[in-house]
Symmetry: C2
Subunit: 211 residues, 2 copies
Amino acid sequence: MNETLQLIKERISTNHFDKTRKLSDDEIRELVEYAGQAPSSYNIQHWRFVAVASAEGKARLRALAYNQAKVEEAAVTFIVLGDLRGYDHMPEIAAAVVAAGQIDEKRAESWVTTSHKLYAGNEQFARDEAIRGASLAAMTLMIAAQAKGLSSGPMIGFDPVGVKQAFGIADRYLPVMLLTVGYPAPGNAGRKPRFGVDRILAFEQGSGFPS
Amino acid sequence: MNETLQLIKERISTNHFDKTRKLSDDEIRELVEYAGQAPSSYNIQHWRFVAVASAEGKARLRALAYNQAKVEEAAVTFIVLGDLRGYDHMPEIAAAVVAAGQIDEKRAESWVTTSHKLYAGNEQFARDEAIRGASLAAMTLMIAAQAKGLSSGPMIGFDPVGVKQAFGIADRYLPVMLLTVGYPAPGNAGRKPRFGVDRILAFEQGSGFPS
């Protein structure tokens, strides 16, 4: 089987990390660079990552995540954020796409106008999009980590308000998940059984799912 | 470079598909099976996929997606859904994890109780989670498609209410995105420039991002 498909099947959410193995700042940067290759509407790239890798930082983060040990035992725990006002950056983003020769000035102006109309003043839609974008990037990071022999684990059990305060995160950024990354230790559970494909897939009509 | 990392760098959101190349139902099932390997809280697997591959279905879906041709030109366009009441299935999910020998009966009971407490009566959190889960699965599907020589493109420009009505989707399922998959045609634009990694990554403190 293709290596990538194999990795997708092998990835599990890891609970036990090798506490003795660290990641360098450059290794962390590389993972986030892969995460940033995810797709986004208007290329807004709503995702942001705070890498918490210091002993002190991880201890502080663990206390805000129901004291789950993996936050501290992983080499790095990312606070994955979604930007609720990502469209603010559209003039810069559109200019970069113009500079790359992919759209013209007129199209760039239209991107700025239409993206602003889409998100500004529509708080629920902006929140949905921040979560969608951050999640697409986080999944890309998990698969890149797996390809590099690392393990990962997404977590939603944490205090988002406390995390924002403790790590100086501005209100425009929504904490979407914590994401632990490191080398696995022995003793991780196997992969949990998934629904059969016919339980999660319908052809042509969605009425086959439980209502 | 590792094949998986290469694929992550090469993936683009494709606008032009080869209209003459179809996917069999089994190929579609295989893609969704990979998508279902994504992680989820309590293994709830909030994602559902409606595969629209018939000419008639794709025409109907295109009309609900600002008439974007790629919806019809792709071999299949998935309506990616998130289950707002995924915790309803916890007794069955926990029983499968017990049957796999990974948790005991007592732990299973606790999963059912605590997941219900977490989501039920917390509509915003349930919605956030439906979007998070569906997005993690969709990104996994896109990378699996790339590994199989296919191209894909996520889309948020569509009428979610109209799509639910037209495809018989129950209210508990939130349309999170459309996702086109097929063989690429010539003429697709290159990959759009991404932010440099230091724009999306901060170490230890999130205060370096624009407030």
